[in-house]
């Protein structure tokens, strides 16, 4: 992140210097403003989903879900930390259903636990699974296509699903192949 931040920042600053020196600060401020509005939107969705997950936890549903997915998920993440694996499962399930904002809280909690246990492999795996898109139904895309007057907005479903499956499998495979053996 440090390298990317520095590279993009420097390149953008140099371009601004030559093309539009007065536009530099407004662009940065626009970024900050966006961060403020995005944070509010995220706060709203975290409120809803954290409440949801708490009810799930206290009603014993998380435990049930985790028991079902634990054997497979334990292998996938190479972790015996039951709570962390259960959080990771909640994250993956929310991702597949495409619930906006819902995967993040359990995802962050699971990553923290994995990293605290020095299990970088599991943290990387969870991140790559998240960052290669697991969503089964591209609802945003379909809605946008329908709005733009497409004849059959949903016919994008199959190629998207195949592409996203490939990216997820490839990502998981690469993480698996490049893990540090302990």
């Amino acid at each position: 992140m440090n390298v990317i931040f520095a590279a993009v920042f420097l390149a953008a600053a140099v371009i601004f210097l030559f093309t539009d020196p007065e536009g530099f600060l407004p662009a940065m401020l626009a970024g900050g403003e966006k961060a403020a509005t995005v944070s509010l939107a995220l706060l709203a969705s975290y409120c809803v989903w954290l409440g949801f997950f708490k009810v799930m936890e206290q009603s014993g549903l998380s435990e049930k879900l985790a028991r079902g997915m634990y054997p497979a998920a334990r292998r996938l993440f190479g972790s015996d930390d039951r709570q962390a694996v259960s959080l990771a499962c909640q994250n993956l399930a929310a991702n597949m259903l495409g619930l906006p904002g819902a995967p993040t809280p359990p995802g962050i909690a699971a990553t923290k636990k994995f990293l605290a246990a020095r299990n970088d492999y599991a943290a990387d795996m969870l991140f790559v699974l998240n960052a290669t898109s697991l969503q089964l139904l591209p609802t945003t895309v379909i809605a946008l296509r329908a709005a733009a007057g497409s004849a059959s907005p949903a016919d994008i479903f199959l190629p998207t699903l195949l592409a996203t499956l490939l990216s997820t499998l490839l990502g998981a495979l690469l993480v698996f192949l490049t893990r540090r053996r302990t």
């Binding site: 706060l43 490939l166 990216s167």
Partner: protein, 169 residues
């Protein structure tokens, strides 16, 4: 596709009924969960700011336009329409920016055109890698090069596949 909208209300309904059967005090429990939301967003805030400033600079400076232009021979060599290059470059930084760009492309080229379909696949099969990275690894001192590189590479390869699938499907 109408049924997709049912997922969320049904999910909540099922959970709440289940919780009531298990005699969970819904109000107390839900509020208990919400308590965590403000600390969570506070811990993410600095990282969000950095990523969003970065995405703004990337766009507003014209850097993304220049990169798109420079890379367009590469894109067309790989079977990716150069028109969607900007979307491909922007998506890792910003989801909302990519959404806006996608709807622009849809109205410019027509929702059922090949370019628009490729754009949809590019959008739907990738994720906001840098954004997720900033949020999930917020505050960790871990080296992030490997996971980020893997995620970007996997998304890119699947994009090439997606664009060729759009030709035949």
């Amino acid at each position: 596709m109408k049924y997709a909208a049912l997922i969320i209300p049904l999910l909540f309904l099922a959970l709440f009924i289940w919780a009531l059967v298990r005699r969970v005090k819904l109000y107390d429990c839900f509020t208990e969960g919400v308590k965590g939301a403000v600390p969570l967003i506070l811990s993410l805030f600095p990282y969000l700011v950095c990523v969003l400033i970065l995405s703004e600079l990337f766009e507003a400076s014209g850097l993304s336009a220049r990169l798109t232009q420079g890379l367009s021979p590469v894109f067309s060599f790989l079977g990716i329409p150069p028109e969607i290059g900007k979307l491909v470059l922007l998506k890792p930084f910003s989801g909302s920016g990519a959404t806006a760009l996608l709807s622009e492309l849809l109205s410019e080229y027509g929702a059922d055109s090949y370019i628009a379909r490729c754009a949809c696949v590019a959008y739907g099969s990738s994720e906001t890698v840098f954004y997720i990275c900033a949020v999930y690894f917020a505050g960790s001192k871990k080296r992030l090069f490997k996971p980020v590189a893997i995620a970007l590479a996997a998304n890119f390869v699947s994009l090439i596949l997606g664009c060729s699938l759009c030709r035949i499907l």
